[in-house]
């Protein structure tokens, strides 16, 4: 028996049946487990092209609003190289080292950046390193809110294409010659890793954004390492290193740095700042800004201050200014100690923070607050 339907109805019914059939097939495909997710089975050429296109378009669009800062700084390149050796080389390999076969077995595998980095603009590199790539094994930056650190890596990646092995080892220091995460070394070799970035009582840190540890208080160093390891302090460079340290290693390393005497300062004229600026900074450091409820820095950071409060004198201006900014924007300050400093830093204006960082970077020691003249003076 023939069924007669008006034409429009017939089309609609057909469409519904096609869609329902498609869905059912899809469900069978997914639920049956027929699709092979093995890394050993490669994508079809067309699938691969489609994935790469999606990736490229996504990165291009999402990095559209990234602002590139000035990266013309040899320091940054070296710091970036040192982190690269610890955190990226194990997957991506580096000039002169071959990719570990296990890592090469990833699919997609980590491409050799000595070739591929040239494919990307700086803002795109930043975006990739900051956010990572879904479903590929490319991790995101672990220090929340630490875009400044990511830029050091980008500064290095820009120079990486075509880099010679010798130049790379020069930039990456002790870490450059190894493959595998730094985290697996111990003893003197571990100490050498720290010095490669932080310097010691004879050599200065690899970059002004890395703090000197020589002569810092032990209790503070220990606490800093514990806070990195617990993700209570944000740094994509220090968190992975600290998380891999044992209690004993933290104890030995912090003791060793604390025992050193602090290396004398060498400051560029730019870091020294103008006289007037240093004077304003000194006033803040020694007298505070009572009107804004800012106490003198020396009352908490002077010579006789608590062992758990850091020593500031001798840290670089770039580091001091960065930390003040991190406190002020709330990136640093998760610990009870950080809360105290955060409440002080939040009351400073940008300019005052800059002034006081300039002053502190130029003094070899911050005296404690002295007993004042008798307070009740006749009128």
């Amino acid at each position: 028996m023939a069924i007669f339907l008006p034409r429009r109805r017939a089309v609609a019914l057909g469409a519904i049946m096609v869609i329902a059939g498609g869905l059912a097939l899809g469900a069978v495909f997914v639920l049956s487990g027929a699709y092979n997710v093995a890394a050993s089975v490669r994508h079809f050429d067309i699938t691969n092209k489609l994935i790469k296109l999606t990736l490229r378009r996504s990165i291009d669009t999402h990095s559209a609003f990234v602002k590139v800062p000035d990266l013309q700084n040899a320091d940054l390149v070296r710091l970036g190289a040192r982190h690269f050796a610890n955190g990226c080389q194990p997957c991506h390999a580096a000039p002169g080292s071959r990719q570990n076969p296990i890592v090469a077995g990833m699919y997609p595998s980590a491409p050799p950046l000595g070739v591929n980095a040239d494919d990307w603009e700086q803002d795109e590199l930043f975006w990739i390193v900051r956010h990572g790539l879904k479903f590929t094994g490319m991790p995101q930056w672990v220090g929340d809110g630490r875009d400044d650190e990511v830029w050091a890596v980008v500064a290095f990646l820009r120079e990486l294409p075509g880099m010679s092995e010798q130049r790379y080892n020069e930039l990456a220091g002790a870490a450059g010659s190894r493959s595998g995460f730094t985290l697996e070394v111990a003893g003197e070799e571990l100490f050498a890793q720290c010095i490669a970035c932080h310097g010691d009582d004879r050599t200065e840190p690899v970059s002004a954004t890395v703090p000197s540890l020589d002569g810092q208080k032990q209790a503070y160093l220990r606490r800093a390492l514990e806070e990195y390891a617990l993700d209570m302090r944000q740094s994509g460079m220090m968190e992975p290193l600290a998380a891999a340290l044992s209690r004993e290693q933290i104890e030995t390393l912090s003791e060793r740095f604390a025992r050193m005497s602090r290396r004398p300062l060498e400051r560029t004229p730019a870091e020294k700042g103008r006289d007037s600026q240093r004077e304003r900074g000194q006033h803040i450091a020694m007298k505070g800004i009572p009107r804004q409820s800012v106490p003198a820095c020396a009352s908490c950071h002077g010579q006789t201050s608590a062992a758990t409060f850091p020593r500031l004198a001798g840290l670089s201006k770039a580091y001091l200014a960065t930390q003040l900014r991190l406190y002020r924007q709330g990136t640093r300050g998760d610990s009870a100690y950080g809360q105290i400093m955060q409440s002080v830093a939040r009351k400073l204006t940008d300019e005052q923070a800059d002034d006081v960082a300039t002053y502190l970077a130029g003094v070899s020691d911050l005296p404690s607050i002295e007993a004042p003249a008798p307070a009740s003076t006749p009128r």
Binding site: G288, P290, R291, S293, V294, P295, A296, A298, S299, C300, T304, S305, A306, T308, F309, A336, Y337, Q339, I340, S343, V344, S368, I369, E370, A371, P372, P374, A375, S376, T377, P378, R379
Partner: protein
């Protein structure tokens, strides 16, 4: 219980609550100052007249609506309108004005007689800086408590260096604003020894509601003795625990905000702590003054007094807290 029973109960409770607010250390009805005593009859007079006028208006309205015609006709007569619409208000309001002016005049006469040493109170966020004129004209800086001698009018100079606050010690007298850039002088005379409470009466930011202090009126001799002791620098820590407390106090930067005269601590951002142990409360009458409260204040002050300008110090061990609390408690 019947519905009527509920109503009665509600009324009783309501009245009890309202009347309960009428006494206590911060009540205008428990006058213990000459100013407040003078204001009291003015208050009752005004209240009495207001009640009488209300009753009168209601009565007249009732007449206008319900009464027989010949009653109502009286209301429309010219005489009635002139008497109750013009003469009565003029008479009552002028009377009250004169009375009020007389009371104020009495106050200003007392201001002129307030010749002895005065007190400056500076409104801070959210506490009071209290500066006494010392026996030799020196400034004696204290905080969060006002002491007054009984029987002498004292000029209180009210200032602020941030936002507008208002000083109000209801048992002593009226309130007066503390305005940045100027000095308002309020004269008060305590007439009997005792402790009452003052409250900031002008919204001044986050912790405004928690900005109070105790006002302690003392016999003149006691007051003199107290003031002589207040001039002195802090007592030296008496034992090893308190010495440790003092060391911790300095090492953790408390001295950057707080002064303890006679020690390196000379900060002016927070209250002077030279004699904090002898005050009746902590943190502008937020906490009682005892070692337990010192401990709580250090570790939990942002919870106890949200947004206040002291950082929370959740960094001490138990024994360290005990030492600091013992040290501060010993600053008498």
């Amino acid at each position: 219980m019947t519905r009527r029973g509920f109503t009665t109960l509600g009324f009783t409770f309501g009245a009890a609550t309202v009347l309960g607010g009428c006494s206590g250390p911060q009540s205008v009805f428990d006058a213990s100052g000459a100013e407040a005593q003078e204001i009291m009859p003015l208050f009752w007079t005004v209240t009495g007249i207001a009640v009488a006028v209300t009753v009168l208006v209601i009565t007249v309205s009732a007449i206008a609506v319900f009464a027989p015609v010949h009653w109502r006709r009286h209301l429309t007569s010219e005489k009635f309108v002139v008497a109750f619409g013009i003469f009565l208000p003029v008479f009552v309001l002028s009377g009250l004005l004169t009375y009020g002016l007389l009371v104020m005049q009495a106050g200003s006469a007392r201001s002129r007689s307030a010749e002895g040493p005065g007190v400056t109170i500076i409104g801070e966020q959210w506490w009071w800086r209290v500066i006494y004129d010392g026996p030799e004209g020196e400034e004696i800086v204290s905080a969060n408590e006002l002491r007054l001698p009984v029987g002498r009018p004292v000029a209180i100079r009210l200032q602020s260096d941030n936002v507008i606050h208002s000083f109000w010690a209801p048992q002593l007298g009226g309130k007066l604003d503390m305005i940045p850039g100027r000095t308002n002088t309020l004269t008060v005379e305590a007439i009997e020894p005792g402790i009452s409470r003052a409250q900031c009466a002008e919204y001044c930011g986050g912790a405004h509601a928690l900005m109070s202090m105790y006002v302690v009126a003392m016999e003149p001799d006691d007051y003199r003795q107290w003031l002589e002791a207040e001039v002195n620098p802090a007592t030296k820590p008496a034992d090893a625990v308190r010495r440790e407390g003092q060391r911790l106090f300095i090492a953790h930067g408390c001295g950057g905000c707080h002064a303890v005269r006679g020690t390196p601590a000379a900060g002016t951002i927070g209250p002077d702590l030279t004699h904090v142990g002898s005050r009746h409360s902590l943190a502008a009458a937020r906490l009682p003054n005892d070692p337990q409260s010192f401990r709580r204040w250090l570790t939990d002050n942002q919870h106890i007094k949200p947004d206040n300008f002291m950082p929370e110090y959740d960094v001490f061990s138990d024994s360290e807290l005990d030492a600091i609390a013992a040290y501060l408690d010993g600053l008498e």
